[in-house]
C-alpha cells in the first residue's frame, strides 16, 4: 500500500474522496442522478454547492440519460463538467456514452461499479462497466480511495488536453470501495488547479465563431470521424502516462498505467483490478511465504489498453490467471478481460497459459481463503479449457 502521510490524511470513503476531488478541481457544472452505490458522491457534491464551498451549477435531472446529455452540452460550451453513476444508470446512459466520445466532450464520470438487473442486485460486480467498454471512453480503475481522488484530478488534466479531448470514466468497486473508509490526503483547490488548470473545449459555443455541434455525417464523412476517435484514444496513452508522472512529481503519488506487484520471482500472475487488487496486495506477502510464486498484475488503465506494459510484465511468466467480475455470455471465454488477454497473447506471440476465472458476481463474498484458492490455481497452472466460475454452487 502507498504510504500515507498520516497527519494530513482524512478518513473518507471512495465516494467522498471523489466528491472532494470535484470540489478541489473547481468543476463548473455537475449533472447527475443518484443511484446506489454512487448516491453519496452527488449528495456530497450537492452539499458542497449548497454551502458555497463549490461555486457550480448542479443540474438535477430526471434520469441518467438526461444526466449525461446535459453534461455533454455543458462540456462543449467550455464548462468543466462532471457526472457520476453506476449499474442501471450507466446502462441507461449507453447511447449517450457513444455520443459523448463521438462529440469529443472532455468530461469526467465516476462509476461505482455494480451488477446489472435482472435479477435486481444493488451489490458489486463489474457487469455495468464492461458493458460500456466499447463506447470510446478512456477508462481507469482505481484500487484505493486515494487513487480515486488522484485519478479524477489526473483525468481532467488529460481529457482537456487538445491532443486527447475524450471523456473519461474513473471506475471503482461499489460498496467494497464506495462505502469503505480509508485514509485520503486531499490537496486543496489551489494546488489542484495549479496542476490541472481549466482548458476548454476548442469549439465551444461562441457567438463570434458560430459552429454546429452534433450534425449528421453521411457515408462520405462518418468513417473518418470514427477513425479520429481511434487515433485519439490510442494517442492518449502516452499523455495519460505523462500526466501520472507529472502528478507524482507534484504530489508524491504516482500509479503508472499498469502495476506489477510482487512480480519479482513470480512465475504466475493474477490479473485483476480495483478492490480485488487491494485485497491481493494485503494477502500476497503471506501467500508468497507459503510458497506460492504468484504476483499481482493490476489493471489501472483499461482503455486504451496498455499493451506494451502488458507484454513487458507477462513475457516471461508461465500462468496468467485473469479474474473477471463480469460475464460475456456465450463468448469463447466468458470473462471479457480473459478474451482480450487471449487476443493480446496471440497478437504479441506470448507464451503464458491463460486461466479464465469469473468471481464475485453480484458481490459473492471473496475472503482471504478464496484469494488463496485463486493464487494456488495460478501457481499450479495446468490447462483450463473453460472459464472457471469460482464459488458457484453446482
Amino acid at each position: 500500500m502507498q504510504a500515507i502521510e498520516s497527519k494530513r490524511a482524512r478518513p473518507l470513503n471512495t465516494n467522498h474522496a471523489i466528491a472532494n476531488a470535484v470540489k478541489d478541481l473547481d468543476v463548473d457544472v455537475i449533472s447527475a442522478y443518484p443511484i446506489t452505490p454512487q448516491t453519496t458522491v452527488v449528495e456530497k457534491i450537492s452539499e458542497f454547492v449548497a454551502k458555497g464551498e463549490l461555486e457550480a451549477e448542479f443540474i438535477h435531472v430526471e434520469s441518467e440519460h438526461s444526466a449525461l446529455s446535459a453534461a455533454i452540452s455543458s462540456s462543449v460550451t467550455g464548462a468543466r463538467t462532471f457526472t457520476a453513476t453506476a449499474s442501471q444508470g450507466l446502462a441507461l446512459m449507453h447511447e449517450i456514452l457513444h455520443i459523448a466520445s463521438g462529440l469529443r466532450a472532455p468530461l469526467v464520470m465516476s462509476v461505482a461499479m455494480r451488477s446489472l438487473s435482472a435479477p435486481i442486485s444493488i451489490w458489486n460486480d463489474q457487469g455495468d462497466l464492461f458493458n460500456a467498454r466499447d463506447a470510446g471512453w478512456i477508462i481507469l480503475f482505481a484500487h484505493t480511495a486515494q487513487e480515486a481522488y488522484d485519478s479524477v484530478i489526473q483525468a481532467y488534466k488529460f481529457v482537456e488536453d487538445e491532443r486527447v479531448l475524450l471523456p473519461a470514466i474513473i471506475a471503482y468497486d461499489g460498496y467494497l470501495m464506495s462505502h469503505t473508509i480509508e485514509p485520503v490526503v486531499t490537496e486543496g483547490r489551489e494546488k489542484v488547479i495549479k496542476f490541472a488548470p481549466k482548458r476548454h473545449y476548442p469549439y465551444r459555443l461562441d457567438p463570434q465563431k458560430p459552429v454546429t455541434i452534433g450534425p449528421i455525417a453521411p457515408p462520405e464523412y462518418y468513417y473518418e470521424i470514427k477513425y479520429q476517435q481511434v487515433k485519439a484514444i490510442n494517442g492518449s496513452l502516452p499523455i495519460i502516462e505523462e500526466v501520472d508522472k507529472d502528478f507524482e512529481k507534484e504530489f508524491g503519488r504516482g500509479y503508472g498505467i499498469m502495476e506489477c506487484y510482487m512480480c519479482e520471482g513470480a512465475n504466475s500472475l493474477i490479473m485483476t483490478n480495483a478492490s480485488y487488487a487491494a485485497s491481493l496486495k494485503a494477502f500476497l506477502p503471506e501467500f508468497r511465504e507459503q510458497g506460492l510464486k504468484v504476483g499481482l498484475l493490476r489493471l489501472r488503465l483499461y482503455r486504451p489498453f496498455p499493451l506494451k506494459k502488458f507484454v513487458e510484465y507477462t513475457s516471461d511468466i508461465k500462468n496468467l490467471l485473469v479474474v473477471d467480475r463480469a460475464i460475456s455470455y456465450g463468448a469463447p471465454y466468458q470473462g471479457p478481460l480473459a478474451n482480450e488477454v487471449a487476443g493480446a497473447k496471440v497478437k504479441e506471440g506470448l507464451g503464458f497459459n491463460i486461466i479464465s476465472v469469473v468471481a464475485g458476481i453480484g458481490q459473492r463474498r471473496m475472503d482471504r481463503e478464496d484469494f488463496y484458492a485463486l493464487a494456488r490455481m495460478a501457481h499450479e497452472g495446468g490447462r483450463h479449457e473453460e472459464t472457471v466460475f469460482y464459488g458457484v454452487r453446482e
Partner: protein, 107 residues
C-alpha cells in the same frame, strides 16, 4: 462528385461544422427517379405546389409568361433539381394537372 474529400486529419474533430451555412452545399436531390415537369400554359399560378413541397424545391420566379391562350402572368414556377427528391406531392396536389412526373435523364 469527383472533388477530393478531406482526410481524417483535415476534418475538425467530432464532426463539428466550423463553416456555418454549409448545408447549402449539400445537394439532397441526387437520388430522385422522377422529376416534376410544369406545364406553364396549364398552370393557374395557385401556388399550391410551392406550399406542399417538403424540400422547398419549387421556385417561384419573377418571370413573365404569356400562355398560349394569351393570358399574361407576372410569375412562373420552376423546379430546383438540386433539392427536389422526386416525391411527386406537387403533381398529386396540382388542381389543374399541370405537373407531370417524368423520368430523370441520367447522363
Amino acid at each position: 462528385m469527383g472533388e477530393r474529400l478531406l482526410s481524417y486529419k483535415e476534418m475538425p474533430i467530432g464532426g463539428v461544422i466550423v463553416n456555418p451555412g454549409n448545408s447549402l452545399e449539400y445537394k439532397t436531390g441526387d437520388w430522385k427517379v422522377l422529376i416534376p415537369k410544369i406545364n406553364q400554359d396549364t398552370c393557374i399560378r395557385c401556388r399550391i405546389c410551392w406550399y406542399v413541397c417538403p424540400d422547398n424545391a419549387i421556385k417561384e420566379l419573377d418571370r413573365e409568361y404569356i400562355t398560349n391562350k394569351g393570358r399574361k402572368y407576372k410569375i412562373s414556377y420552376d423546379v430546383d433539381a438540386d433539392f427536389c427528391k422526386g416525391c411527386g406531392m406537387c403533381a398529386q396536389e396540382c388542381p389543374v394537372k399541370a405537373i407531370e412526373m417524368v423520368p430523370v435523364e441520367v447522363e
